[in-house]
Amino acid sequence: MITEKKKLLLAEDDALLGSLLNYRLQKGGYEVQLVHDGKEVMEFLAGSVPDIIVTDIMMPYFSGIELVDYVRNELKLKIPVIIISSAGNEENVLNAFELGANDFISKPVSPSELLVRVGRELGKT
């Protein structure tokens, strides 16, 4: 039986971290779409719906917080959203949770930990 890969939208403007996470998530069996800023996020979401979103908070054009708001309140999607936050960004994390984020992971991001968290969130749905 062929199981379809889960689609994951990874929004990370840092090329370094984005490349590493992209590689590890793909190796983890996900179909990853890596976008680098808010504009690309909007473009992607206009055409398709991923199974899960992993997003950085601070991005050009469109923050991770705004993305959560957009996904929950505009698109009315219930897909899991995991936010990547820097240490000392607790206020933003709380805002994201209030807007409907499911989980967060602090920088420095451990790819292995992210894989576990993604798997756990998808296991719930």
């Binding site: 840092d14 090329a15 370094l16 971290l17 590493l20 920088k107």
Partner: protein, 291 residues
């Protein structure tokens, strides 16, 4: 051949300078540095070639004939690029390091040289080739001594004035080899060296981009831009375990959030500029070790 290794390292210096000329330094400073390094390289090549020819044409001389080199004035070197040849009786290694010893080094050149010595064990490589009866003074010691003396006698007015509690050139340089360990990153890459190389490349690009952005934002007094840039670079710095640079970036971000002192920010920016080349060399060395 060990001399070739030295030349390779010099090429790396040039590459580093080339990468920074427009982002980090003023055009005139960059040109001056390049000219000096170019002259330094040419001089070294000429001297090594000449010395090697001399060595190959004569038998080994007895040890103990090493004469301490005199410190040359920078103006002579910078303008003419010529130095009088030393004709001491040394082993091949001593001759090759003698070429370095007889050459005036600028502050930056000393830094780069120290970084390479600290991180690549050139001295060890050269030292292994010393003849059994030759003088045992290691190349590293010789060059270090030269560097220290040059540092004391050089015109400090021409040296870059970087004084930091967190960044002290010599201390930082000596730790360059152990400061960056890419093994954990390679593990994150599941052992894929290609990916690690790509990440290192991205890291360098990010750092250069950051330097360029900061320079512009500081000129425009755009503190939010500075803060954002500092925030974004932190992730990569953390990933590459470059704690010194990370500390500077964190301080830049903190200053932007608090008093927005331009003078302090410029100082931190200078610290970053001072520290980054050493880190880049250390990263390259760490990458080489993993290959």
């Amino acid at each position: 051949m060990n001399i070739r290794i030295l030349l390779t390292k010099l090429s790396e210096f040039e590459a580093t300078l080339r990468a920074y000329s427009y982002e980090q330094l003023k055009a005139t400073e960059a040109r001056e540095l390049k000219d000096k390094l170019g002259a330094f390289r040419r001089h070294l090549e000429q001297k090594i070639n000449r010395d090697v020819s001399e060595i190959s044409g004569r038998e080994s001389k007895p040890p103990g004939c090493h004469k301490e080199p005199e410190i040359q004035q920078s103006a002579d070197f910078a303008t003419t690029g010529t130095q009088k040849s030393k004709t001491g009786h040394h082993s091949e290694a001593s001759e090759s390091t003698g070429a370095l010893e007889a050459t005036y080094l600028t502050y930056e050149q000393i830094n780069y040289l120290n970084a390479v010595l600290a991180s690549s064990d050139i001295a060890g490589l050269v030292g292994r080739d010393l003849n059994a009866g030759a003088e045992k003074k290691s190349a590293k010691q010789a060059i270090q001594t030269k560097s220290d003396r040059s540092f004391k006698t050089m015109d400090m007015g021409n040296a870059r004035k970087i004084i930091s509690k967190t960044v002290q050139p010599d201390k930082g340089l000596k730790g360059a080899s152990t400061r960056v360990d890419l093994t954990p990153v390679l593990e994150d890459c599941l052992g894929q060296l290609d990916l690690l190389e790509e990440l290192v490349l991205l890291f360098k690009q990010n750092a250069l981009e950051f330097i360029g952005q900061l320079k512009i934002h500081l000129q425009n007094m755009d503190f939010e831009g500075v803060r954002f840039a500092a925030h974004k670079i932190k992730s990569g710095l953390r990933m590459m375990k470059t704690t010194e640079l990370l500390g500077i970036a964190e301080q830049i971000e903190a200053v932007c959030k608090t008093d927005r002192d331009v003078k302090h920010l410029n100082f931190l920016f200078d610290c970053f500029l001072e520290e980054y080349p050493k880190i880049e060399i250390a990263i390259d060395m760490a990458l080489e070790k993993l290959k």
